[in-house]
Amino acid sequence: MNDADFRKKGRLGCSACWTALLPALEPLLGKIQCGVHHLGRSPSGVTYSPEQAKMRLDAARREMVEAVQSEDYESAARLRDLIRNLEGQIA
């Protein structure tokens, strides 16, 4: 599918369309989303590239501060483990 097909339905055709249309979609993502990089969970068994791991580590550290500030200790504990894990991967 091409950009015009996407604009017609507002829906992508398959996972490969994301790769093909990403340059055209990036401005839209920038507007409607909080960024253009995924910071959430991944399918089991997927490992991060060093660049991804670094980005996630930065985000996790920021979140850890927020979690502690809002006294969300359950998240803080999880984030602490995630930070250790990511630091291990980067090292």
Binding site: G13, S15, L25, I32, Q33, V36, L39, G40
Partner: protein
């Protein structure tokens, strides 16, 4: 297993089996997932959709969560049964009207998976009351099981790939269904909705996207799914739900204090209408039941009666009324049957008394 079995079996939402909160009716987690190398449903041919359905059901059916689950194929169902599943929030309008849609609903109805909706898989976890973390843990476990069983569409950079750019990344929509009669009566709901909107949360009506806020029930959910972790999304929603619940409690207190006898009159009139009306439209029924629910919350009616009021709200919806009758009914016959059921159900309710403020 028929749709009628799903609708008649007791579950957390219709029979208040779980711990309940007065203001938060339910908590919901939704994850959008797709299979790699298969066209997304909106662009797929019917044979491709059928293949996806079999693949997904083949992966889901053996999971412990779906032991003795209800499996429904949308196209095989009469229109009324499809509409009733939408009214129960077990499937979406889009799935019920689309081609090749199927759903698997867990025995206890806390988990349902829609297949071939906008995305190949829409996993939903619903808990009665406010239980965001508990719902999230169930969704997380299911997501792990899914990604072990099926090749999911995922990219390192963009996360889970979805048909619509509004869902890409985490694919997570976390929401709470809130009953906010205090804020509505005080005329503050528009202001609250604006504040939520400005902070990245969507406010919708009882049946989700495009529906009105019948019965003063609103759904609050995150809008953004990319560039945020699930933890951040959940914490953000949590903070706002706490805030809105507090505003609602304050609005109720102010109303009771400032309106005095007028407040009791409002509730008594709602009770009178529901107890005696011969014709009740769905809108009128929802509006009055909302006030009765509020009466249960503030001690004007016994709190234990709230579950009955909630059940009337659910069972008074158009498709539910017609399914109960066993035939399609025109609007007037529907309104008459709704009124009769409501009168019978409320027959042994005590008269509302003055509010008890705690």
């Amino acid at each position: 297993m028929s749709v009628r079995d799903i609708l008649s079996s007791e579950n957390e939402l219709t029979h208040m089996l779980g711990a309940q909160q007065a203001i938060v009716l339910s908590t919901r987690i939704r994850l959008a997932r797709n299979l790699n190398d298969h066209p997304f449903p909106g662009w797929a041919k019917s044979a491709q959709r059928a293949k996806v359905t079999e693949l997904c059901l083949g992966a889901l059916n053996p999971m412990p969560k779906f032991r003795r689950a209800h499996e429904v194929r949308m196209e095989a169902l009469p229109e009324l049964e499809r509409a009733a599943l939408v009214e129960r929030h077990l499937v979406s309008k889009e799935l019920s009207g689309g081609k090749g849609g199927a759903a698997l609903v867990s025995r206890d109805q806390t988990v349902s998976v829609m297949i071939n909706e906008e995305d190949h898989l829409r996993v939903q976890v619903v808990k009665g009351g406010w239980h965001l973390r508990a719902a999230w843990h169930i969704a997380e476990q299911l997501d792990d099981a899914l990604s072990s069983a099926l090749p999911l569409a995922y990219s390192d950079r963009l996360g889970f790939l979805t048909a619509c750019p509004t869902n890409v990344g985490t694919g997570l929509r976390a929401s709470a269904m809130l009953h906010l009669p205090g804020l509505c009566l005080a005329g503050h709901m528009d202001k609250v909705a604006r504040a939520l909107g400005q902070d990245g949360l969507a406010v919708r009506g009882w049946l989700g996207e495009g529906s009105d806020a019948a019965g003063n029930v609103f759904q609050i959910s995150n809008q953004q799914t990319l560039g945020l972790s699930e933890d951040t999304i959940l914490r953000h929603l949590s903070g706002w739900v706490r805030n809105v619940v507090e505003q609602e409690e304050n609005a109720r207190l102010r109303l009771i204090e400032s309106e005095g006898e007028k407040f009791l009159d409002r509730i008594a009139r709602a009770f009178g209408t529901l107890r005696h009306a011969r014709l009740l439209t769905s809108g009128e029924s929802m509006a009055n039941l909302s006030l009765l629910r509020l009466a249960c919350d503030v001690g004007m009616l016994p709190e234990a009666r709230r579950a009955t009021v909630d059940r009337l709200m659910i069972e008074g919806q158009p498709a539910h009324v017609q399914l109960r009758a066993g035939i399609e009914l025109d609007t007037e016959a529907r309104d008459a049957l709704r009124a009769a059921t409501t009168r019978d159900t409320l027959a042994d309710f005590p008269e509302p008394s003055a509010p008890k403020l705690s």
